[in-house]
């Protein structure tokens, strides 16, 4: 790489971008002008509305009731009162916003029966006299008043209407005030101190300083906004500098110059990074300024209860995190946009990437969300937490370093992807519509007899959606029927249907090749030996990595009992061992592994298919053990070239696991085989020996896999 050349490219790209009105609008105009305008207009409109509501007279209905004079006077001061009868359509009028609210007074039944009054419902502050005058010497416990039970007031209002809500607030304040007064009057009548009904008073004392409060607000708002705006800042230049250049025909010109693709991509990356960084920075400053200015305008000359000032080191740290965000978002956007041929296509690819990047950061802004080792590894989420921590002053150095590490690794990976894409002639010079097959498959242009990676991508996306939206809810309603439908209807049928619809060779796609009987014994050894290994690893994971999930896992294990399924023994085994063996293997070792092998080396294809297989089990706790099983099944399938080998292996594994659950877990032998405090290492050793023997035997039986990378 020649840096003078890269600098020349960068300068030219930047000059061109800065001469583009759209860049200037997104980068400068939007944050510097739009936010203050939006901020000012909305805050003023809001305060005008609040003022208007405060001053407006509400129309209030009294249903079959009258209120005492002082209370009526208070209500009438700012509102219009209408007396209505209960049979009138007042509820409808509230719904139509013709009335703001209605007050009903309900007299307690027993009291109404015992003490008929002239006015049907009159709320007064008067009380009946106590049946016995309390004597000065009497103890308070002996006081006895013949007090009527309290009246019940019901306020009917419309919570979806601003005016009705404001009216309710206003009326409630008046009523509470009047209620206090009524109590006070009652107590005064008997010369009792108001303290009789007041055990204590409550006083708020928020010790958070104005600055701390300001930082709390900033820390909840700034990370997400900063991330969103910085990614947006990278989006447009990335599309313009790659897809836009292809569309304008200038990329071809540039590629004829004596420069390497890496130099071109570096120059472009630096340009996108700069623009993204400037956009993020201007957005941050503008938002901060608009917000603090808005606060100042709201409180006028009064002392601010919220102080948003930050120190120089805050800015420095924020700048560092901003650079990390800009670096990764530029790399992500560059790689996505490089695929595209036109500006429009570029936007189609970058928009989902944009959503995927910032959506998880919402998690960081949730109240109570905590920065953990796991969040430190998730790009963007980790920066959101780091920014939050920086502003609040509780960011640990470890977390910051982990964030730096994780973001850098992912950035480098995306840059590498961009470089790979950019060096791909098919991407640079393709004509016509995008051919994903051409990009990811070596079989471009050839009539396919087996699925390509894009087929797998779409099939698994469809199946994941089906599993998530249909399968899970079906299983919650009826676990046995739900599981059957999931396995056969959502896994088996779509995979076979897809292959048929695309006219693939079913035999080759699903490796429907007979398996010689002699292979079954080594496979049995592999599964029987592998089972303790998987169990021990599951144990270790639950103990070390997810201690808090142990209980969840135990609950899950319990759910796999015959009782919960309500099935007889043979059907139980048929559903949970044979069916998964057939259906899941058809998808993951048949369709998926076969398609991955068109492009990847067998090892990588097996690993990736195993990961997908594990991911579909929707359990983080079981991810690693399931993935290991996937690797074993994948290897067996690849080695024997027959799906029946792995169907047998899968069914056997599930069957053994179920058998352990049914007949061993509650027996004394379980304590010996699966001690709860530590994994049974001797069992692991025995298992490993059997497993290795099985692997060795199978290797001897099928010396070279029939299928190589195609």
């Amino acid at each position: 790489m020649r840096w003078p050349i890269i600098l020349t490219l960068w300068k030219k790209e930047l000059l061109e971008m800065l001469r583009d009105r759209r860049t200037i609008i997104i980068m400068v105009l939007l944050p510097l002008v739009l936010y203050p305008i939006i901020g000012l207009v909305t805050s003023q409109a809001q305060s005008a509305r609040v003022q208007k509501l405060r001053k407006s007279r509400f129309r209030i209905a009294l249903i079959d009731a009258s209120l005492p004079e002082p209370l009526m006077r208070k209500l009438l001061k700012d509102n219009d009162i209408e007396h209505l009868r209960s049979k009138d359509p007042w509820l409808k009028r509230i719904a139509q916003k013709d009335l703001s609210l209605a007050i009903e007074i309900r007299r307690p039944k027993d009291h109404a029966a015992s003490r008929p009054t002239s006015s049907p419902s009159t709320l007064t502050a008067k009380t009946s006299r106590p049946s016995a005058q309390p004597k000065a010497s009497s103890r308070p416990s002996k006081l006895h008043f013949a007090l009527p039970p309290p009246y019940q007031l019901r306020i009917s209002y419309l919570s979806t209407s601003d005016a009705s809500r404001a009216a309710k607030r206003r009326i409630q304040e008046i009523l509470v005030e009047y209620h206090k007064l009524a109590i006070q009057q009652r107590l005064q009548r008997f010369r009792i101190s108001p303290n009789l009904v007041r055990a204590f008073t409550i006083e708020d004392n928020d010790i958070a300083s104005a600055q701390a409060r300001g930082r709390d607000i900033l820390s909840s708002m700034l990370p997400l906004l900063l991330i969103i705006m910085t990614i947006v800042g990278a989006l447009y230049p990335a599309v313009d500098l790659t897809a836009g250049e292809k569309e304008r025909g200038t990329l071809e010109t540039l590629l004829t110059a004596p420069i390497t693709s890496i130099e071109i991509i570096t120059g472009k990356y630096l340009t996108i990074f700069c623009i993204s960084m400037i956009t993020g920075l201007l957005n941050m400053l503008s938002l901060w300024f608009t917000f603090s200015q808005g606060m100042r305008m709201l409180v006028g000359n009064r002392k601010l209860a919220i102080d948003m000032t930050l120190h120089a080191y805050h800015y420095l740290a924020l700048l560092g995190f901003l650079a990390l965000i800009a670096a990764l978002s530029s790399a992500v956007m560059l790689s996505m946009a490089s695929f595209a041929r036109s500006f429009k296509e570029g936007q189609n690819y970058t928009t989902p990437a944009y959503l995927l990047c910032f959506m998880p950061t919402f998690f960081a802004t949730l109240p109570g969300s905590k920065a953990t080792l796991t969040t430190a590894m998730i790009p963007f989420v980790n920066v959101a937490f780091a920014i939050k921590g920086t502003i609040k002053g509780d960011l640990s150095l470890n977390y910051a370093l982990l964030t730096l590490f994780s973001m850098s690794v992912v950035t480098v990976a995306f840059l590498k992807l961009s470089a790979t894409i950019f060096q791909n002639e098919q991407v640079l010079f393709r004509e016509g519509d995008i051919s994903w097959k051409g990009l990811f498959s070596a079989n471009a242009g050839k009539r396919l007899t087996i699925p390509s990676i894009s087929d797998t991508f779409f099939l698994l996306s469809l199946q994941f959606a089906l599993l998530f939206y249909v399968g899970i809810s079906l299983q919650t309603k009826n676990i046995a029927l739900g599981t059957t439908i999931t396995l056969w209807g959502l896994f088996f049928l779509p995979a076979v249907g897809w292959a048929r619809a695309r006219h693939f060779d079913l035999k080759e796609t699903f490796r429907l090749k007979p398996l010689p009987l002699k292979n079954f014994l080594p496979i049995t050894l592999i599964v029987v030996g592998g089972l303790p290994v998987v169990l021990v690893i599951t144990h270790l994971i639950s103990a070390w990595l997810f201690p808090e999930w142990g209980e969840v896992a135990r609950q899950m294990d319990k759910s796999f009992s015959m009782k919960t399924f309500g099935l007889s023994l043979p059907v139980f085994f048929l559903l949970l061992s044979v069916s998964p063996g057939i259906c899941e293997e058809m998808v993951f070792r048949g369709f998926v592994l076969r398609s991955l092998q068109t492009r990847l080396k067998p090892q990588s294809a097996i690993l990736l298919s195993a990961f997908l297989f594990a991911a579909f089990h929707l359990s983080l706790y079981r991810l690693l053990p399931t993935m290991m099983l996937g690797v074993v099944f994948g290897w067996v399938c690849w080695r024997t070239g027959s799906i029946f080998s792995t169907m047998y292996a899968h069914a056997l594994h599930n069957g053994l696991s179920l058998a352990i659950g049914l007949w061993i877990t509650n027996k004394p032998i379980a304590k010996w085989l699966f001690p709860s405090d530590r994994p049974a290492y001797w069992l692991l050793a025995v298992g490993l020996v059997i497993f290795v023997a099985g692997v060795y035997w199978l290797q001897r039986l099928s010396p070279s896999p029939t299928e190589q990378r195609s």
């Binding site: 010109t253 420069i259 242009g445």
Partner: protein, 293 residues
């Protein structure tokens, strides 16, 4: 990227026409070895399973203009892109004035100027900025770059619009800027892929004169166009590409003689519409070739 060719050609030093001409065509007189500026040997490009260009060999003298003809989808653009270094050939070698493209790809690109009818200009840069930018990419010394730019602005008549952003220029003006860009680093070989496409007669004439001038300056030129009069007017030799293979090559007179016709248009049609056995890669469907070319 250069893969092992299933059809390796060992005869590196053989007469170029032996490999490329069909059986009936008599071998052309080849330029003496010392005089050649550009030579490709056994060039091939495969897209998926289709060979867009196969076994293409060609040698050009200094100051020679070579016309590359062929129907749509014959592999012309793929050939020119391979020569320009935009795409990597899957087989074959390319040498430019003693520079081997395989070992010194960037040095080879410094000796090539490439202009197509669809080449875009940076809309928001002026011609002067564009030329200075490319001068830097070619690592021309500052004074040399300035001298060349002044010269090209003068020769190609860019003066009146040299400080206007390219987005505001006419198609003819843009193509002149493109030519200036391609000539800036004094290339040995100038590749022109339909350079007059969409131009009015005055602009097209200007481009043709520039090609003439390049020839006089001793540059080799490969010109691909559908306008046969341009070929007749300018080219010293003509090659006809069909389904990725060079099926005829020679001077205009040789072509006319070989095909027993009186005009290049007739000769071209006769060659292109000849029975398929003339086409060496008959196992490929034309549609498939067109799709990938």
């Amino acid at each position: 990227m250069v893969s092992q060719s299933p059809h390796p050609s060992d005869e590196k030093e053989t007469d170029l026409t032996e490999n490329t001409s069909p059986s009936e065509a008599p071998p052309e007189q080849e330029a003496p070895n010392a005089d050649w500026s550009f030579r490709i040997h056994g060039l091939g490009k495969c897209f998926g399973t289709h060979w867009a260009v196969r076994d293409l060999s060609l040698t050009l003298r200094h100051g020679e203009v070579y016309g590359l003809l062929g129907p749509n989808g014959a592999g012309k653009t793929t050939t020119l892109r391979m020569i320009a270094g935009l795409i990597e050939p899957d087989e074959g070698s390319l040498q430019l004035s003693g520079v081997d493209r395989d070992t010194e790809p960037l040095e080879a690109r410094k000796k090539i100027g490439f202009v197509t009818g669809s080449t875009g200009l940076y809309q928001r840069l002026t011609p002067l900025e564009l030329l200075h930018f490319f001068a830097k990419l070619h690592e021309l010394p500052k004074h040399e770059a300035q001298r060349r730019i002044d010269e090209l602005v003068d020769v190609l008549g860019l003066e009146s619009f040299s400080k206007q952003q390219a987005g505001t220029l006419s198609t003819g003006q843009k193509q002149r800027v493109n030519l200036a860009r391609a000539l800036l680093h004094s290339p040995t070989l100038l590749i022109l892929d339909e350079p007059t496409a969409g131009l009015d007669i005055i602009s097209a004439d200007f481009i043709l004169k520039t090609i003439q001038k390049a020839r006089e300056d001793g540059r080799s030129v490969i010109l691909s166009t559908h306008i046969l009069t341009e070929i007749e007017l300018l080219c010293d030799r003509i090659g006809i590409l069909l389904q990725g293979k060079l099926v005829q090559e020679g001077t205009l007179a040789t072509l006319l003689q070989n095909t027993q016709t009186s005009s290049l248009a007739q000769a071209f049609l006769k060659i292109v519409q000849a029975p398929t056995e003339q086409a060496p890669s008959k196992e490929q469907s034309p549609a498939a070739t067109e799709e990938v070319a």
